[in-house]
């Protein structure tokens, strides 16, 4: 196993996960313009739902996954309806929403920990016996390949929806100016609710895929979310492709950064990259 191809593959795998988080986050941020930190906990919600249905109740794998995605989406929607929507109606500042989102994150994580303990759990039944592909001297597992494919598919779907459907255009319009969108007759409340549902579902799916790849724990959300946010800022916040580009760039920087120094520095590297970008190119690589 050569080191360079494996590093490249690792970067691509990490990039696939980050890009899913970034896609969901970007969708929500692009529409509502606030940092929904509570979104991080929804990956854990997705992962643990599958854990419950698949491993505890013994339901069929695909049924469990679909249920997990739906539950993550539903909880995202409930949080929006009960917390963010009233705040947004009152024209609260972005900071109020961010603090409320911090509350959502803390509470959701802890509830999951009470229900399922804070132990590290893995979703896949057969650890170590997964199909493995050799590419250019590096190794990639089946789950990781699936993650990569799903990430690309979701990106394409979101891109197409934005370009060709009325819903996508409405979402874009709200992102540009919510007041004007209301005036021209867009039901903004309904559209934003759907955005939260879809965004949260994507976050949940990311959590599920991570659960099959490595494993889940209640506090997985925050660091994951921060990576997604960093990816969005690097790539261009509010831009669908920017988030994905940023995710892969971030993954490459992280993985090649820890080539020479200890892997524990990964998070620090990510934030150094964030701060550099915020200082010198706050609009990201691809402007919206």
């Amino acid at each position: 196993m050569d080191i360079i191809p494996q590093l490249i593959l690792n970067s691509i795998i990490a990039g696939a996960i980050y890009s899913m988080i970034a896609l969901g986050f970007n969708l929500i941020y692009g529409t509502t313009k606030f940092f929904d930190l509570g979104y991080g906990a929804l990956s854990a919600v997705g992962g643990y739902s599958v854990f419950y249905f698949y491993k505890t109740l013994g339901l069929d794998l695909y049924v469990s996954i679909v249920l997990g995605i739906l539950i993550a989406g539903a909880i995202g929607l409930i949080v929006y309806k009960s917390v963010y929507s009233p705040l947004r109606k009152r024209k609260s500042s972005g900071m109020v929403l961010m603090v409320a989102a911090l509350g959502v994150l803390t509470a959701l994580q802890a509830i999951i920990a009470i229900l399922f303990t804070s132990q590290f759990q893995t979703l896949s039944q057969s650890v170590g016996s997964e199909r493995i592909f050799n590419i250019l001297g590096g190794v990639i597992t089946q789950t990781q390949l699936i993650t990569l494919l799903i990430g690309l598919v979701i990106m394409t779907i979101i891109g197409l929806v934005f370009r060709y459907t009325l819903f996508g255009k409405a979402v874009k319009a709200i992102g540009d100016d919510e007041e004007v969108s209301k005036i021209v007759g867009i039901n903004t409340e309904k559209i934003v609710s759907w955005v939260f549902f879809f965004g949260s579902a994507i976050g949940g799916l990311a959590g599920i895929l991570i659960g099959f790849d490595t494993g889940i724990e209640p506090t997985m959300g925050l660091s994951l979310l921060l990576k997604g946010v960093i990816a969005c800022v690097i790539g261009g916040i509010g831009n669908v492709y920017g988030g994905v580009l940023g995710a892969f760039l971030l993954a490459f920087i992280e993985n090649f950064g820890i080539w020479q120094i200890s892997g524990e520095w990964k998070d620090a590297i990510a934030f150094v990259v964030l701060i550099i970008f915020l200082l010198f190119r706050p609009q990201g690589i691809l402007k919206k």
């Binding site: 940092f35 917390v83 972005g94 900071m95 911090l102 959701l108 620090a268 150094v272 964030l274 701060i275």
Partner: protein, 288 residues
Amino acid sequence: MEYLIHIAILISIYGILGLSLNLVVGFTGLLSITQAAFYGIGAYTTAILLTGTGMNFFMAVILGMVISGVCSLAIGFVLSKFKDDYYALGSFGFNVIIYSIFLNWQSLTRGPLGIPGIPRPSMFGFTFSENVWFLVLSVVLLAIIYLVCQFITGSSFGRVLKAIREDEQAISVFGYRTLWYKLAIFVIGAMMASVAGSLFASYITFVDPSSFALTESIFILAIIILGGLANNKGAVIGAVCLILLPEILRFVGFPNDIAAQMRQVTYGVILILLMLYRPQGLVGEYRL
């Protein structure tokens, strides 16, 4: 009795942290979520100096303040380039970076193992080894810091800070260099947090990185948001409430690990409810 003293010491420590962050968030309107980093710098400086060189506690406190001050000057300078949400995101970043340093600079901090056996403070041959005397010391330090905060916020310097919070552009038109004011208060806040860190290290006699993670910063933020922004009394009241609350939960009879999670749920729910129904907190004079 010992138990009550323990709670009172914790309240003093978190009271200091609340006061220090309130200067930055409440009075100046900068949503900084990195206070635990300076708290940690104070704690680690004390721990390393006391165990390594046998220096006097009070000298170590002063050195800790100096180191925190220098770090916060650099961090504050970078953060001053950002606004609102991005300020918060950037401050997140610095917390993660400093936490990584605690975790990975193993030759200095012993990484995840932490530093045990930190001695209690001593002065003129008298050692604060009894918790009662340690409580006296903490309360005296809390009182001093409270008075300093009162002095700062009541002075003309404090009025400029409030003006920056309300309208930075307007006050800079009057010829005030807002950058220097923001830097000054950020550094003062960090130095105060460092004092709290020194107290914590020598009280618990053990430090490890987990006490200074991002969640700790969020907890300190919750203290001042609950107590009330831009009110020094509020910061202390917030500390009293948030330290007492989980202790009450403990008496309700939850098992220990669930009680810890219940605490998190309570903090989260408190943040959400405050943002929804009382964004100025209990006695606050400013809403985010």
